[in-house]
């Protein structure tokens, strides 16, 4: 929906406030850190702005590249799972009874108004070795044993000599589960916004023409909801990539993500220039991916326009 700048007053009204804000309260601080990334530590506090690429070179070490790769993998997995679950949830809300729509939306958002740390500790309480899940399973195990004893098979120890609790925490799976837990609403909201006013007649038409529900969803609903999907993917993937509290608290000994390394640079390693360099590499890569997508979209649009 592009219109040329025929309406200068409206344009200034909508363009100036956000631009000024971004400039003053985002770009300027960011430039400070960007300059830092080309600098070098000089003593405990000071930074020499030597304008060298040393920090970036150091970041290219396979040690850090491996951590980047693992982080991308975790974030991608998280986004995929969130997309699946989020789409189902968004569909349930959009195509359900309309008076339940906003309450359901609130219901999905509500856990996320709880403090992340407290929620993560609660998650731990549910999944740890003596937590709720294992407690429940242990109860089932005991009932199972009781049952077996009644029918005379108790001595065979069919369910094992001792209850083995599931190790649901302190491994990579737990980190992904935690990331999904934190980022699910960031996926649901744009999906909902996109599905909400979708033209239902297209879906009905597809069903009338004989396509099954699955086919309809895949070929009609998903392409029509694509802007929402892409938004959801971006605002889920990127924060997931940069999260460090969740891997810190739920991860095992090899769940280190890139944000943990960056955090350490700004804190215990006290190497702000290197931390800045790592952060910017992360940003450049994500930025590049988003820019690619924008280029691809505008090319699609031009192609479609020329038809």
């Amino acid at each position: 929906m592009d219109k040329p700048r025929r309406n200068p007053r409206v344009f200034s009204l909508v363009a100036i406030p956000p631009s000024v804000w971004l400039l003053a309260f985002f770009l300027v601080p960011l430039t400070l850190v960007w300059a830092m990334s080309f600098g070098q530590k000089a003593g405990l506090i000071d930074i020499d702005y030597v304008w060298s690429l040393d920090n970036y070179a150091r970041a290219m070490d396979p040690l850090y590249l491996r951590v980047f790769a693992k982080s991308f993998w975790f974030a991608a997995l998280t986004t995929l799972i969130c997309l699946g679950l989020g789409f189902v949830v968004a569909m349930s809300i959009t195509f359900g009874p309309s008076r339940w729509r906003v309450p359901l939306l609130i219901l999905v958002m509500l856990p996320f108004w709880t403090n992340l740390l407290v929620r993560t500790y609660a998650l731990i309480a549910v999944f740890r070795t003596r937590g709720v899940v294992n407690g429940g399973l242990e109860q089932l195990w005991e009932w199972g044993n009781g049952l077996l004893a009644i029918i005379g098979l108790g001595h065979l120890e069919l369910l094992g000599a001792r209850f083995e609790p599931l190790q649901l925490l302190y491994n990579n799976g737990a980190v992904v589960a935690g990331l999904v837990y934190v980022h699910l609403p960031f996926m649901v909201l744009p999906l909902y916004a996109s599905l909400d006013r979708m033209d239902r007649s297209c879906i009905e038409a597809s069903l009338d023409l004989g396509a099954g529900h699955l086919r309809t969803i895949l070929s009609v609903m998903i392409p029509m909801a694509m802007p929402g999907i892409v938004t959801g993917v971006i605002i889920t993937f990127v924060p997931a990539l940069g999260s460090f509290l969740t891997p810190d608290l739920l991860g095992g000994t090899d769940s280190q993500m890139i944000a943990n390394v960056i955090e350490r640079q700004f804190k215990s390693a006290n190497d702000w220039p290197f931390g800045a360099a790592l952060s910017f590499i992360l940003m450049y890569v994500t930025f590049f991916a988003i820019a690619l997508r924008a280029v691809w979209i505008s090319r699609q649009r031009r192609l479609r326009g020329s038809l």
Binding site: P111, W113, F244
Partner: protein, 280 residues
């Protein structure tokens, strides 16, 4: 007997697989919350194993001035941040959707930056910025929360922009042209056609901005000065001595308050109003 008619093709909300997945997801989301609430009544300082029922931690939380203060600060910041973010975010969304101007893609890129920047990097950037510009740190409440609020707005409004834009992309421009043809002014068109259409996007954006602000730890930590404590920062610094039931109690109360606020907002919204026509 109203709901015993066969499932219409589009009534996905009633299909079993959808309901099942939705149910499981809600279970996954809420199990820790339920545990959180239950453990707020736990009679154990370290709150690891259940040791008995008590409500004394609610009393403790009520009497804990710094916790209440942190609470209040967090809510204040979140409300202001959400309000401003909605305005700025919508403006930016309209600007990008409606106008083609030189530097548009660059603009898009810059607006996306606060989303892709690692939080700790932004936190350090804001710290450096406020330190070097000599931002005053001893203003009276609530002005002293200014630095934190500014930082929150900076990272919240791009999220609102993205959500509102996704919504606007499906807007049928002919509706607007029709309104113009019928004699509506620019402002009327905006208020009666565009705004109602954007509403789900605005609501989604507001919820997102509110959540982001309420729960932010990293950026707030770096931009907060003395006596500017917020809830997540307070909880995080308490972690060294474990998350006591007091914190659970406070979180439970926070949930209840937000539920209450939302219920009020919904009720206000759904009151019958005269002469309202929904667009589209």
């Amino acid at each position: 007997m109203a709901h015993h008619h066969p499932i219409q093709p589009l009534e996905y909300g009633r299909r079993l697989w959808l309901r099942l997945t939705m149910g499981l997801t809600l279970l996954f989301l809420y199990a820790p919350i339920v545990v959180l609430v239950v453990f707020s009544f736990n009679d154990s300082r370290r709150n690891i194993v259940w040791r008995g029922f008590t409500t004394r931690y609610y009393e403790k939380a009520w009497n804990n001035d710094s916790l209440i203060e942190a609470f209040t600060n967090s809510l204040t910041i979140a409300l202001i941040s959400t309000a401003v973010s909605i305005v700025l975010g919508t403006m930016a969304a309209i600007m990008l959707w409606r106008f083609r101007f030189p530097g548009r893609s660059a603009c898009e890129g810059v607006i996306a930056l606060p989303i892709i920047i690692p939080e700790i990097c932004m936190g350090v950037a804001m710290l450096a910025f406020f330190a070097r510009t000599g931002w005053p740190t001893d203003l009276p409440w609530p002005l002293n929360l200014g630095a934190i609020t500014i930082a929150h707005i900076s990272f919240s409004f791009p999220f609102v922009t993205m959500v509102v834009r996704a919504r606007l992309q499906r807007f049928n421009i002919e509706l607007e042209e029709a309104a113009r043809d019928l004699g509506a002014s620019g402002w009327q068109t905006f208020r009666d056609i565009l705004l109602p259409y954007m509403k789900p996007g605005l609501i989604a954006g507001a919820l997102l901005a509110f959540t982001l602000s309420l729960d932010d730890f990293v950026i707030t930590f770096f931009t907060a000065g003395p006596d500017q404590i917020t809830f997540p920062v307070k909880v995080y610094s308490m972690v060294r001595f474990s998350v006591t039931p007091e914190v659970n109690a406070a979180s439970t109360v926070l949930i209840l308050i937000t539920l209450l606020l939302t219920a009020i907002a919904l009720w206000l919204q759904n009151r019958p109003r005269r002469g309202e026509i929904e667009a589209g």
